[in-house]
């Protein structure tokens, strides 16, 4: 039997991303969950994957709903549906700017909303960076600790080569920050556009005499509208260019980090990434040669017969 996948390798990191985004997701809607709330603590430790992760997501959802109920009930009481939409508008980036027009004053939760959006923005940046193949802040810190300490311990810091490489790393780090900012601006615009789309959809429904009576249905409609806006923005020429730029910046930074790691490894006479790759490439080439010896040459394979579907007696000779 094949070895089962290790669910704690890639799967955990994907779930960690989602769990980290949940407070920001609800923060958009005015819930005041602190960023990262519940993401780290195991709800059902020791259970089969992904029970614990799903339990954590549900627990965070439960807390967010409770918080929203606390915030929204008095708002609905005082200002009706306009108050509700005003709360959401306050949670949107400033570009949306609906809070001053027609809507009721946002509740105390609204003061946390812009912060929630900033947190969402940062989460999106990290999210996009993972997609693009760059290192997250955590990875960078781990790298600095490992190789920074190593270089110090072995007196490599002053080496001209190492210093030059580190300078290059700083330069690509700046370029990466620029790419991240541009990407985040686009995402911010997409969320604002998604809210406008929700308003338009609701106004259209109102015109047809349709009503939404369920809070959760409203949340789902918001998600649909926002998703559509995100698609439009990220699939636009500008969105694709920003994603590509983010990808290039992440790759450039990773290669600079690898270069530094290579300098350290060379100095310590340790196998480098290139050494390993060369060895693996050679092994693969040898396997190909072996396969070629075991198979008949392509020219010896009989040509295809368009209607040949006859069964061969006794099966193929081996």
């Amino acid at each position: 039997m094949s070895a089962p996948s290790d669910p704690h390798s890639g799967a955990d990191s994907i779930y960690a991303t989602w769990l980290g985004l949940i407070p920001q997701f609800f923060g958009q809607l005015g819930a005041t969950m602190p960023a990262g709330a519940g993401a780290g603590a195991a709800a059902m430790p020791g259970l089969a994957f992904p029970l614990d992760q799903v339990a954590r997501a549900a627990t965070m959802t439960q807390a967010a709903l409770q918080d929203m109920a606390t915030v929204y009930a008095p708002m609905l009481q005082a200002a009706g549906a306009s108050g509700l939409l005003g709360q959401w508008a306050a949670a949107m980036p400033a570009a949306v700017g609906m809070g001053s027009g027609g809507a009721a004053s946002p509740s105390s939760a609204s003061t946390a909303a812009p912060l929630a959006f900033q947190a969402l923005q940062q989460a999106w940046i990290d999210f996009g960076s993972q997609l693009a193949g760059s290192l997250t802040r955590f990875d960078s810190t781990a790298f600095d600790r490992t190789f920074g300490a190593l270089s110090d311990a072995f007196g490599l810091g002053p080496l001209r080569q190492f210093q030059a490489a580190y300078k290059d790393l700083l330069a690509v780090g700046i370029a990466q920050a620029d790419a991240r900012t541009k990407y985040a601006m686009l995402v911010q615009g997409a969320f604002a556009a998604g809210f406008d789309r929700l308003l338009a959809r609701l106004a259209d429904m109102a015109g047809k005499g349709e009503r939404i009576v369920s809070w959760l249905a409203l949340l789902r409609l918001w998600a649909v509208c926002t998703e559509e806006a995100v698609h439009d923005v990220l699939q636009s020429e500008q969105g694709l260019a920003a994603t590509a730029a983010l990808s290039r910046a992440g790759i450039a930074r990773r290669r600079k980090l690898q270069h530094i790691a290579g300098i350290v490894a060379d100095a310590l006479d340790m196998a480098t990434r290139r050494d390993l790759d060369d060895a693996f490439r050679e092994i693969q080439e040898l396997k190909r040669q072996l396969r070629a010896r075991q198979q008949p040459a392509p020219a010896q394979v009989p040509a295809a017969r368009p209607t040949a579907n006859r069964r061969r007696k006794g099966g193929p000779k081996r």
């Binding site: 959802t61 929204y72 993972q130 997609l131 995100v230 698609h231 699939q235 994603t243 579907n309 099966g315």
Partner: protein, 380 residues
Amino acid sequence: MNSAERAMLAARAASALAITPASLASELQSAQKKIQRGLKRLEALSEDDLAIATVPREEVWREDMVRLYRCRPVVARPHPVPILITYALVGRFQMIDLEADRSLVRKLLAQGFDVYFIDWGLPSRAQRWLTIDDYVSGYLDRCVEVIRAASGEEKINLLGICQGGVFTACYAALFPQKVRNVAFTVTPLDFHGDKAEPQSGAGYMNLWARALSAEDIDDLVDAYGSAPGSMVGMAFLMMNPVSNLAKYTIDLIDVFDDEAKLLNFLRMERWIADRPDHPGEVVRQWFKDLYQDNKLIRNELVLGGRMVDLRNITMPVLNIYATGDTVIPVSCSKGASRHFGSADYTELAVPGGHIGTFVGGKAQKILGPSLADWFRARSG
């Protein structure tokens, strides 16, 4: 839209909302109860409850990380021409047998077929140099040889899924003398098909790939070696980021309230999260030769020094696409008849999305029976 316009729109929008403090409290109380019940359900579940791909099978061949399995036939005398199912590298084969009642494999077995499938396994760093040719002319060909020997059939039936469909197409073009019939499901054949019919929310991979240069792809592969499974998984999830967040939050509420739905959800999550690393050289070819240069449909793809000419696919072809597929846009799959050498080409649309083809209720009723009928009619 300026703030005054938005305020007017909001005022109109607000009249569509009939949510009251009482209805809000009642709905949230109900949601809390559902979540509590769901959490209790989670606590009671075991590893066995969550197991996927449990069809009885035996390993009949292995090399490196690749395994070939033969599913245990459920009829005394299975159909003599076996079917080999080839899944993609970007996910695991378990999708073809996610649950007992949502299993393409079991449906084919029930129809009396002798079914084999390949598990591509978990490529390690050592496999970063594997190319598409290593998969097609190497592992896949060995699997076909094993099945030919075991069955005594000169030619066998091939069923390729998504990326596995591309491998299968390449194989059928390079080794037509070993293939009786070939079926593709949700397979990208024309990688530029989306250009003619752009669709919001669909074809992200096509767009991302074309937004990068060939040098960007080289840099990506050189920087990473193999593409980490988590990165591949994230790329898929990024295609629908907001609805994925809704899935893990507000949509969980109803899922938690239904035991069957909850089990479906959890098993699917297991599959989604299980992403193998993707060998770097395959990534390079996949993006440069296929997504960027569209060489497959142009008969320009070269594998192991041999040109992949789809016109060599003269055996019967069944091409199945999903009408709601956003990963592989419909326009990248359908309408491929003229590119094959076969005089017997059939196309079939199934409802649902890329994965829904294999697990969706409506698609399940169509996919398995259609494949069985088609193979049976051409394997006598």
